[in-house]
């Protein structure tokens, strides 16, 4: 038999929805940007194909590919595979957003340490921890990026007409863009994950809140 969700459960659930909303917005932006990029490239290719120089080059290539009319040496030259690109862009480490709001200072510190341990075990992502602790200097460790978000109480005091969850969704979307993050998860402040749980759940897309 399931217990009735309490206020804290509902709050974490709202944060999860806001976080997923933010991630979704980022994905939509990426999709729109990719579509714009594709359309632009398509126009460039069409313009190139219409150009006089392209058609002339194309004719020359066709001629070169005809063994009856082209010298074998020239044909071999043109048939050589293209040289590998000299500049291969290094793959960037994907980032993952951890929304860790409502933790005590000790809890935030413990989570930072666990995240640091996690990337030491396997450096497969860059953790970006969103905290509402203003004393960021005390939380900084190598390998974990910190981001700050005003806590719900502060936000409602300064911006009583605006939902904190709306702020969270917008911020997560922005952080996904800023850090090129592929995942965003919410940490349950009542039960922040240990290294063991991070290792168990790290490949899941979703919340660690109930893991």
């Amino acid at each position: 038999m399931c217990d009735e969700p309490d206020a804290a459960d509902l709050a974490v659930a709202r944060w999860e929805v806001a976080t997923l909303t933010g991630r979704l917005r980022c994905v939509e932006d990426e999709r729109d940007a990719a579509v714009r990029d594709r359309d632009r490239n398509r126009e460039i290719v069409l313009a190139l194909r219409r150009s006089r120089s392209y058609r002339l080059g194309r004719t020359l290539v066709d001629l070169a590919r005809d063994p009856m009319r082209t010298a074998p040496a020239m044909a071999r030259h043109w048939r050589r595979p293209p040289a590998p690109r000299s500049r291969i862009r290094a793959a960037e480490m994907p980032a993952r957003i951890y929304v860790a709001v409502g933790l005590s200072r000790a809890g935030a510190h413990g989570l930072i340490r666990a995240l640091r341990q996690r990337v030491l075990v396997e450096a497969d992502h860059l953790p970006v921890m969103v905290t509402d602790q203003p004393s960021l200097r005390h939380l900084q460790v190598p390998g974990v990026v910190l981001e700050y978000l005003p806590d719900p109480a502060t936000w409602s005091r300064h911006e009583p007409g605006s939902d904190w969850e709306t702020l969270l969704a917008e911020r997560v979307a922005q952080l996904c863009r800023d850090h090129r993050a592929a995942h965003a998860v919410v940490i349950d402040p009542r039960d922040p994950p240990t290294l063991a749980r991070l290792l168990v759940t790290d490949r899941r897309v979703g919340s660690l809140a109930s893991a």
């Binding site: 203003p134 900084q140 917008e170």
Partner: protein, 484 residues
């Protein structure tokens, strides 16, 4: 509480339904709220739909439909149409209950008893016309037939339910939206001082690095974080884009009237200005640069709609590049968080150390913020902007030990103060120790305090806040199209 509740079998399609719909429409037009309570007659086919005119009222929002299990229905007036059909009905609390008899019931006494059992003995019985009245001889009825008692809204008004179109509700002025101003940088002491004097409808949002954010947050300001490149682990060129994107996000989030940049307008700031010219970009530009440094920022002044320079007590000794770049610059008195001037009441021998470690026999080392400086007996401090002006402004006898690696020209500040006779300048530890020993003498301390009072300067925080608010106002006027 609804204005009017109408209870009837809503499937009925006769003349009573037409009257009911007319009443609902009149009530909706008058701004009155209506709830319809369906009380099905036992002998009617259960699956029969509501009258289409009533469905239209519900669909268009002119009335609401009560739930079957509503137990807390309340209305100012309850109208019961076709009361003879009412067998079961949810409880309704109403100040006035009127049963309209569209036709004479076969057993009026039984209907009356049943209805009054549900709704109390104060039900008023109103016949729909003279024919119905004539068919109920001896019954206690309302003095006038229901249609003859006047237009429907007048009938309701006589029961105290006034049309909202006739008596307009009190107009509540919408809350004035809060305007925002972004204060970007780590010049938190200046930001705090200015924010304290901003008008009530202008809220400061401090966008700071990890150094300044805790102080701004502790001061009760809304804060946002701008990580440094080292904190992100990125090169400067990528950080430029990061700053631009982050400021874009914050500008979209807060819609600030102005953005006040404290410190230097680096490439990220310049990129944000180019991308978002809408808010008024302002520069809180420090003076007192060391000679030969910082000149590369001079050209960036053109990015800003205004430049505010916090005053310097040692301005006459300033040899930095800002002394020659005066276009668009507004200067105010030194901006500090000092309270309004009040007499010094130094406590028993206390020594305040800011950025310098020192001891003096017979003196107790203390910490003090701007509010407590009046009780400090003696100070030894670096000559950074904040400490320098706070200590002089509070007339604290001070030994300034300038930091040669300081961001600004601390040496000139300290030497100028010494030349003006308001403090002592010491450039190494031995000089500082000797100066402190001299100031162990109360007469020497009193002389410095007296001299500070003679050359006292004001606090430019309020003036700076007014300057900032003025730019925000100007932005509003530009938006309104009154300024071109």
């Amino acid at each position: 509480m609804y204005d009017v509740a109408i209870l009837s079998d809503l499937r009925h399609t006769g003349g009573s339904a037409a009257s009911l719909v007319a009443e609902v429409e009149a009530q909706a037009t008058a701004g009155l709220t209506t709830v319809l309570i369906h009380a099905p007659e036992p002998d009617r086919r259960p699956a029969r739909p509501f009258d289409q005119r009533i469905v239209a009222c519900l669909r268009d929002g002119r009335a609401e439909l009560a739930h079957d299990d509503d137990t807390d229905l309340a209305a100012r007036v309850l109208l019961i149409r076709r009361p003879q059909a009412v067998a079961e009905a949810p409880p309704v609390r109403a100040a006035h209950t009127i049963a309209v008899l569209d036709e004479a019931p076969a057993d009026f006494a039984e209907v009356r008893a049943r209805v009054e059992r549900h709704f109390g003995p104060d039900v008023v019985w109103a016949p729909a016309d003279a024919e119905v009245r004539s068919q109920l001889p001896g019954a206690v009825l309302a003095g006038a037939d229901w249609p003859d008692s006047g237009p429907h809204l007048d009938r309701l008004a006589s029961l105290g339910v006034l049309p909202r179109g006739v008596v307009p509700p009190p107009r509540i002025a919408p809350a004035r939206p809060t305007r925002h101003v972004l204060l970007v940088g780590d010049d938190i002491a200046r930001f705090r001082a200015i924010a304290r004097h901003l008008p009530g409808d202008l809220e400061a949002v401090v966008v700071a690095g990890s150094t300044g954010l805790p102080d701004a947050h502790a001061a009760g300001l809304l804060t946002e974080y701008l990580p440094a490149p080292a904190e992100l682990g990125v090169a400067d060129d990528r950080w430029t884009g990061f700053v631009r994107d982050r400021l874009r996000h914050l500008i979209q989030l807060y819609g600030p009237r102005a953005v006040l940049v404290g410190g230097v307008p680096h490439d990220g700031i310049a990129a944000a200005v180019a991308e978002h010219p809408d808010p008024r970009w302002l520069w809180l530009r420090p003076a007192m640069w060391r000679r030969g440094t910082g000149g590369q920022w001079a050209a960036r002044g053109a990015l800003f709609a205004g430049i505010l320079e916090p005053g310097e007590f040692a301005a006459a000794g300033d040899e930095g590049w800002t002394t020659a770049a005066r276009a668009g610059v507004t200067t105010v008195d030194p901006i500090t968080e000092l309270p309004a001037p009040r007499p010094r009441r130094p406590g028993p021998a206390t020594l305040l150390c800011r950025g310098v470690e020192a001891t003096l026999p017979g003196f107790t080392v203390v910490e003090a913020g701007p509010e407590q400086l009046g009780a400090v007996g003696l100070a030894v401090s670096r000559a950074g902007y904040t400490s320098f002006h706070e200590l002089l402004g509070a007339c604290v006898p001070t030994v300034f030990v300038p930091d040669p690696d300081g961001a600004d020209d601390e040496l000139t500040r300290a030497r100028f103060a010494a030349a003006a006779g308001v403090a002592i300048c010491a450039t190494d530890d031995d000089q500082a120790a000797a100066a402190l020993e001299r100031l162990a003498d109360p007469a020497a301390r009193e002389a410095l305090s007296r001299r500070c009072a003679e050359v006292a300067f004001g606090n430019g925080a309020a003036e700076a806040a007014a300057w900032l608010a003025g730019h925000c106002q100007l932005r509003s006027e530009v938006e309104a199209g009154s300024v071109r």
